[in-house]
């Protein structure tokens, strides 16, 4: 395995570990960090002229993830 491939895998693992670490920190009592659910919720409540732009953006991203990894 080449060094660059190893570094890329390590980078993705580091990003995943960072997600878990921040979420863990957010769930601690008295934390000043919002959970990923709270961040998503606030974005999803963003409306423009009554149209739920934030909700459409988040759910579209969810849809794209499924298509990208499971179908295409």
């Amino acid at each position: 395995m080449s060094l660059t491939r190893l570094l890329a895998i390590a980078g993705f693992l580091l990003a995943a570990l960072a997600v878990l670490a921040v979420e863990w920190a957010a769930r601690r009592p008295g934390s000043r960090i919002p959970t990923i659910g709270d961040v998503s919720a606030l974005v999803m409540r963003y409306d423009v002229g009554g149209f739920p732009v934030g909700r459409l953006a988040i759910l579209s991203f969810w849809f794209w993830l499924g298509w990208h990894f499971l179908a295409r």
């Binding site: 919720a41 606030l42 409540r45």
Partner: protein, 135 residues
């Protein structure tokens, strides 16, 4: 101690509980696992299933949890994992997404060829929808 800026929790309909909804996703994940990537069947399945759920998620019929009124000041910490991911993905993509510079999807493709991991990925995708749609 600073309190989280959240509204009171709304009562959850019995059918909307995770213990009820998540098992519903199991057969869909088991079927999806049978359809190989890059096939017409997989594309149609994801388009139909994901499209239907996307439309359902845009309606206001599904019960939602109370949303926070404002974000806590530590929200910037979420930029750390995002920045790490974006840098690695951009570098590998910029280098052509090859074996020596693999993007995340290039690394995931061989893993998702197996039935079990593919079913688990489908289930995670659908469970993610349920986690999001109630927000």
């Amino acid at each position: 101690m600073e309190q989280r800026p959240e509204l009171t929790v709304e009562p959850v309909s019995p059918w909307a509980r995770a213990q009820v909804m998540l098992p519903v996703f199991v057969p869909f994940a088991l079927i999806g696992g049978l359809l190989p990537s890059f096939s017409l069947a997989a594309n149609l399945y994801v388009l139909a299933l994901g499209g239907g759920l996307l439309l359902a998620g845009m309606s206001s019929r599904l019960p939602r949890r109370a949303a926070p009124v404002a974000l806590l000041p530590g929200v910037a910490w979420w930029l750390v994992p995002i920045a790490i991911f974006v840098v690695v993905e951009l570098v590998t993509f910029g280098m052509g997404s090859t074996h020596d510079y693999p993007t995340l999807s290039l690394l995931a493709d061989p893993l998702l060829d197996g039935y079990l991991l593919r079913c688990m990925a489908y289930f995670g995708w659908l469970a993610g929808f349920w986690g999001l749609v109630r927000r």
